[in-house]
């Protein structure tokens, strides 16, 4: 394959998505503001895999899911974050986050053609758990606007990385790669769920 025929944008976004550090999302650093909000979704593999999977699933389902799922996830996640900030309890948050990787990964791997409302419902339901984790673990000194901005942009970037990689879906080899990515995400979610990771 010639270089100029390679899907460079999706590959670049995928590489960006893989530039995450160790799972530090759920450790309180005490740093506030934009950096903290931005880093929280990006520096934890449990969040990364699910948010990338949302973008991937949107790309697999095509329009309008392509833009609707990445629109639903940050919105509902913000609601979950608000619940966490206000101290409202939510059971089994970590289980929900890990399960989101399994379910969303399998949706991508199986390319299940879910109706739009079902896809939005599944995505939104899992977004609550991710948001709640962000909301309860944010530093007390975080500036609201800077934190919110960083938090939403970080999430959006992960969705876009998923969408970027999901654009490979248009070619047969690309489909294989996207399905394999979905499988890897489901496996990662399974590892989080069983405590292996």
């Amino acid at each position: 394959m010639r270089l100029n025929r390679l899907p460079l944008l999706p590959l670049a976004l995928a590489v960006l998505a893989l530039q995450t550090g160790v799972a530090q999302a759920h450790t309180s650093t005490g740093a506030g503001g934009f950096a903290s909000g931005f880093a929280h979704p990006i520096l934890g593999w449990d969040h990364v895999v699910a948010m990338v999977a949302v973008g991937l699933w949107g790309a697999v389902l095509g329009r309008p899911a392509l833009w609707l799922l990445p629109l639903v996830f940050p919105l509902v996640m913000a609601l979950g974050a608000a619940a966490g900030i206000l101290g409202l309890p939510l059971p089994a948050v970590e289980t929900g986050i890990a399960l989101s990787g399994v379910v969303l990964g399998l949706m991508v791997a199986l390319a299940w053609p879910a109706p739009l409302w079902v896809a939005a419902l599944i995505t939104g339901a899992f977004a609550i758990f991710h948001g709640h984790a962000h909301g309860t673990e944010l530093p007390g000194t975080a500036g609201p606007l800077a934190y919110g901005l960083g938090f939403v942009l970080g999430t959006g970037l992960l969705h876009m990385a998923g969408i970027g990689f999901g654009l490979l879906w248009t070619s047969p080899r690309g489909r294989l790669a996207v399905r394999a990515a979905g499988l890897a995400i489901a496996a990662a979610g399974g590892a989080f769920l069983t405590g292996l990771a």
Partner: protein, 212 residues
């Protein structure tokens, strides 16, 4: 397109002047600064401008309004004037939660903008153009025992107008681009703004953290 923008400029400036009228209608407290110089007034103006552009309770809902108005050929100046006048007049009576109300209203409007294709129904835009500037200005000046200097009020009103005009004109330019992507981009921006507003509203409702 550039010519159209240039044609729009005088009307925008005129409208900014018109929108300052409610501020002038307030009882004057220029006497609070007897012998005040132009420098003092400029300072008051800058303070008012910074107040409306720097406080989240006023800024974020106004950006939401700007995005909601992006699909309109003309901005609804009269409803905004009415809202600003009402907000200024009633600010003294506004309760402590007026800032949260402004954020909540802005959040709802951003949600509607995200979920409905542009342009939004004119009635909704008109109602929002009254409500949001009113809430924003009331959240700036609520609970004050003294009437602020006129230059400060003018600064705040200018800030309010800038906060609406910026996203509205920017959004209008984006919507003029061909294809479906621009409208989609505007809706995604509105959804992200709604998400940010939800988080900021939660911070406001939760109050300051312990120890602060």
């Amino acid at each position: 397109m550039r010519q159209a923008q240039l044609r729009l400029l005088p009307s925008v400036l005129t409208n900014l002047g018109v929108l300052a009228l409610p501020g002038m209608a307030l009882p004057g407290t220029a006497l609070a600064h007897p012998g005040s110089t132009l420098q003092h007034q400029a300072g008051d103006f800058t303070l008012g401008l910074g107040l409306s552009l720097g406080l989240l309770e006023s800024l974020l809902p106004l950006i939401a309004l700007g995005l909601a108005l992006a699909g309109r050929p003309r901005l609804p100046w009269l409803p905004m004037l009415i809202g600003l006048g009402a907000g200024l007049s009633l600010a003294g009576l506004a309760p402590e939660g007026i800032g949260a109300a402004a954020l909540g209203a802005g959040c709802l409007l951003a949600l509607v903008t995200a979920l409905c294709p542009p342009p939004l129904p004119a009635a909704l835009q008109g109602a929002a153009a009254v409500l949001l500037p009113g809430l924003a200005v009331a959240s700036l000046y609520h609970g004050g025992s003294a009437t602020p200097p006129m230059a400060m009020i003018l600064g705040s009103l200018s800030g309010v107008m800038l906060a609406v005009l910026g996203p509205a004109l920017g959004g209008r330019q984006i919507l003029r681009l061909p294809g479906k992507i621009p409208a989609l981009a505007l809706r995604i921006a509105a959804s992200w703004l709604a998400a940010i507003l939800i988080i900021v509203l939660a911070f406001v409702l939760a109050g300051p953290p312990d120890g602060l």
